[in-house]
Each structure stands twice: as structure tokens, then as C-alpha cells.
Symmetry: C2
Subunit: 319 residues, 2 copies
């Protein structure tokens, strides 16, 4: 039987999404399982294999799976391992040979693994906003800030497999916010969904500026977005600040790899109506004249639930 299908898996801290994908990028069957119900990676991998076998049966795809692609936090493309992933309940403080273990559970179907942001970049290049591009930088604006860098049509993995940690480059050099990674001033501490919420809390505390956000108990980036939609001036300023910091760093990134485009992806990217202008202004003001107003800023064109599965599945075709 022809091996004409692949599986894409997006391993996240709370849930993991899996899908069977054909060569045209159609998701034939998909499912979601919890990632946070065990501290034992073997237990998680067993439940993942069970879920995969279920959708394989559902899609009538027995014997047709050519390979499995996995996007996971701290995933290493070279070794197929997930290394010291603090966001995975079963992942911290150890190196898990995830690709091998999953392949063993799946009767030897080959498994390729990379980090989640790299998988999203591959998805965008194969099926999304970066189709036809050979040089672009994908920035995922979610709970954290991730990145996948594509140069000459290939994801940059670097010497050790972990390249592309742009969320932890320095955005604020002095007295910067403490980041989850232990450093201070990281881009992620400002330009993630949690960074936006943090800016809101700080500004509400430090100023008397009126804002509908004051009535809320616990503020999320979605609340800031909703307030901005209502015309709330403080909320709009929060996005201006966030966009400026991101745009300043994008200028640095452009000077590194001269991409054709920056692709934004993730929950916070949905606030593009408030982010685009401040990002572009700061990016173009801070980049060398050579690239001013030349590098495109585009948003992911894939459904978010599909993008990660598609990106991971695209890896599997290379197997």
C-alpha cells in the first residue's frame, strides 16, 4: 500500500494536537489529548500512540503513514530529544528520546521532531503566508515568544539544534523585567500575551490613567484587546508600547539574516489592528536604510489549530 499520508503532532503544555495529513495539506482526521495529566513521559507517549492509532483507524489509514512529525517545546531536531522542557509536566530536568520512544510505540514508523516554533515556520513555508519564500523569520506571540528562522529555504537549527530563541534576546538592557528563563529584559517578558498583561498591571498601578481595565480582577491580553476595541486609550497605548519593543528587535533580526518577511503567529498576533503600525514604525526607524520599508510584515494565514499540525506534518514528508 502506498505510504501517502503523514501525521503531524503539536505537543503543548496543556494539550497536544494530532492530525493525519495528505500531500496537499488536508487534515483528514484529528484529535486532541491532554499533555498535563502525568509526570511520566512514557505514560504520555503511550496515550499519544493510542490516540494516533485511533485516528489512523478512523481515517482508514492503516499502513499508509509514511512518517510522523512532532513540534514540541525544547525539541531538538538533530537528536529527536525533548530537553529540559519546563513547560511540559513530564518534561523538566531530563532529556527524553521522544522521537525514538514514539517510533517504538508506533511499530517503527519514523518520527522527526523539532521545536514548536520551527514546526510552525515549516507549516507557514509549506502551506501558509510564507509559501514560496526562502528567507523569513517566524515569530510566535503566545504565552511566550518563540521563533523559527528560515534561511535559504531551510530552518536554522545551529550547532546544537536549538537556534532561534529570539524571545530571549534582550529587549530592555537595564532594569528589564525578570523573564521565566531567569534572565532579565527578554523580548518575551514584554511582547508575549503574558507580557502584555504584565504591562497592563504595571501601568494601572503606576498611573491614574482612566481605563476600563481597572474594573477587572485578573487581566489577560484578551482583556487588553477588548478594551482597545472599545477605544480605551490606555489599552491602545499598551499595544503601541508592545509593538514598539517588538519592532525595535525585529530591526536587529533583519540586520542578521536579511529576510524577505517577518511572519507573526499566535494568540497575540490576533491583535494586529493595534500592533501593526507601531511594529512597522519602530522596525523601519531602527533598521539600516537599505532595508527601510522593504521587509514585509505578514500574519499567519493558517488556522491556528491547523498550523501546528501542518507544520509538524511537513517535517514528516522529509523523512
Amino acid at each position: 500500500m502506498a505510504k501517502d499520508l503523514v501525521i503531524g503532532i503539536d505537543v503543548g503544555g496543556q494539550t497536544s494536537k494530532c492530525g493525519i495529513v495528505d500531500a496537499r495539506g488536508t487534515v483528514l482526521a484529528q484529535t486532541v489529548i491532554r499533555s498535563d495529566e502525568t509526570t511520566d513521559h512514557d505514560v504520555f507517549i503511550a496515550s499519544l500512540a493510542e490516540a494516533l492509532n485511533h485516528i489512523i483507524a478512523e481515517a482508514g489509514a492503516e499502513g499508509r503513514i509514511r512518517g510522523i512529525g512532532v513540534g514540541a517545546p525544547n525539541g531538538n531536531y538533530y537528536t529527536g530529544t525533548i530537553e529540559y522542557a519546563p513547560n511540559l509536566k513530564w518534561g523538566g530536568a531530563k532529556v527524553i528520546p521522544f522521537a525514538k520512544l514514539l517510533s517504538d510505540q508506533m511499530n517503527g514508523i519514523p518520527v522527526s521532531l523539532t521545536n514548536d516554533a520551527n514546526a510552525a515556520a515549516v507549516g507557514e513555508m509549506t502551506y501558509g503566508a510564507a509559501r514560496g519564500m526562502k528567507n523569513f523569520i517566524m515569530i510566535t506571540l503566545g504565552t511566550g515568544v518563540g521563533s523559527g528562522i528560515v534561511i535559504n529555504g531551510e530552518v536554522v537549527y545551529g550547532h546544537d539544534g536549538f537556534a532561534g530563541e529570539l524571545g530571549h534576546t534582550c529587549a530592555v538592557r537595564h532594569n528589564g523585567r525578570v523573564c521565566g528563563c531567569g534572565k532579565t529584559g527578554c523580548l518575551e517578558a514584554y511582547c508575549s500575551a503574558t507580557g502584555v498583561a504584565r504591562t497592563a498591571r504595571e501601568w494601572l498601578e503606576m498611573t491614574d490613567e482612566p481605563s476600563e481595565l481597572r474594573s477587572l480582577d485578573k487581566i489577560t491580553s484578551k482583556d487588553v484587546y477588548d478594551a482597545a476595541k472599545d477605544g480605551d486609550k490606555l489599552a491602545i497605548k499598551i499595544f503601541e508600547y508592545t509593538g514598539r519593543i517588538l519592532g525595535e528587535k525585529l530591526a536587529d533580526f533583519i540586520e542578521f539574516s536579511a529576510p524577505e518577511a517577518i511572519v507573526l503567529f499566535g494568540g497575540l498576533a490576533r491583535s494586529k489592528e493595534f500592533l501593526t503600525e507601531p511594529i512597522l514604525n519602530a522596525m523601519n526607524a531602527n533598521v539600516l536604510p537599505l532595508w527601510r520599508n522593504k521587509v514585509k510584515l505578514v500574519y499567519s494565514s493558517l488556522k491556528e489549530s491547523d498550523a501546528a499540525i501542518l507544520g509538524a506534518s511537513a517535517l514528516a514528508w522529509e523523512l
Copy 2:
């Protein structure tokens, strides 16, 4: 006759160095011509061709030149053009099809061209400190700060051929020094030879700290180096400051492409006895724990006069 030799040319603002190189990287003959005696690029290229024919005759290399590689400021690998190069007397405000014009003058010998820092990186990879490395970043600390980035064994050119302008990433975000490029706060404004001299002048003016530099009329980075060798505390602090700023930015660069090593090159790199420790301290303090104390800092092992010729010549072997 076997085409067993190549020519490497390093085009600089004041002089251009040319050499005939064999497959083992031996420079068989070399010469230097002025680059700054004409504003007409055709006149320069004609005098360059004359010089090349001279060393070809000297080395008995007629008919044996396989190709010519050129490293030049603002050189574009994709197009073979030198574009808007303010440092070349005959280069500003225009796009010069340098590779084609030189090839025409040299009876059709193929010419490959890239920017000078990329050429140096290729030289270091082929013959120098980065031999055997597939992922490294070369930083040239000269009058300016240049960079050549190698990923997966290949120089990064980016979408337009101009990638790797790390000297113009932002080192000081607020109230930074004005840079030659028109932006403010660029790495080059602090960590070049001219940046070091500028730091010296600023600090002498702003403080009363005693220093032997006070007796000098016009201060160069070499003066600061000599003073530091004499134990001059202010001079040593200037290198600490320079090294810290460079190290902070290197941390960002590591998070981008996860190189095996950073290779430093150029006149200012000769002050390594005063720069290495502050660079490493800042680099390791600012990088993600994953890379702390893992990325090597190495210095070019090529004679400076040879490195540029060898780098450019290495390009020619690819022709």
C-alpha cells in the same frame, strides 16, 4: 593547461590587496594598489586588472587562473555588484556591476564577489580558526564592525544578498551614539577601533581620572591599547566597557543562530588580552543557560594581510 590557481582580492577604502593562491592556500604572489586615487570605478578596475596581469606574469600563472574572488564593502554575492559603498571613493551613490566589469577586463575569467566580512569568514572557515566548523559568526573589529555569518557550512546572504550587518544592530537603545550609518546606538559606534577612541575622548572629557592618554593630541585605539599595556586604569576600563557591550550583543547573536564559536578578527581584536574576559563575562551572563560557557570565543589565526585575500580566493574555487 590546468586551471589550478585562483586570485583573491580584498577591496578596501584606501588600498586593495590581491594575491594568487593555490589549492593549499599558499599565496604565490601578491600586490597592493591604492583604491582612493580616482572617483571613476572604470579607472580603478583598469588599474586593478593591470596589477593582476602583473602578478600573473610574475607567478608564471598565465592560463592557469580558474577564477577571481573579490571581497568588497557593500558587495552583493547574488548580483556581483558593489552598491552605494560610502567608504569607496569611486563607490558612493551608485550600483557598480563590479564582477562583470572586472571579468571583462580579465579576458572573461569568472569573478565572484561578496562583502569583505563574508570573504573573511570564508577564509577563516577554509584556512583559519573556523576550519571544520559549520556554524560560526565572524565579527570583524576594524574601523567599523562587520560580520560574516556561517550556518550549515554556508555564508548567510539573505533575501537580497546583504545579510550579516551585525555592526548595526542596536547596542545602546536610548541616547546612543550617532553611527556613520545615520542610526544611533549601533554596535559599531562602540566596539570598533573608532568607537574605542571615541570612548576614550568622551571619558577623558567627562571625568578627571588620571590617564596617560591625557597627554595625547589625537587618540587612536592603538594608543588606548598601549596605555592599557602600561597599566593605565582608564585605558583598561575602556576595554572592559567595550568588551561588555560586545559580549551583551554576542549573547543575542548566539540566541539567533546557535553557533559553535564566535570568531573575532581585525585590528581591534589584537587587544584580546584586555577584551576577552569582559566579552566572555557579558556574553555568558546574558545568554540563555543552555549556551552558558558553551560557545567558544576564538581569534582569527590568519595573518591579517593574508586572511582577506585567502577568504576572497576561497570564493573563487566555488566558481
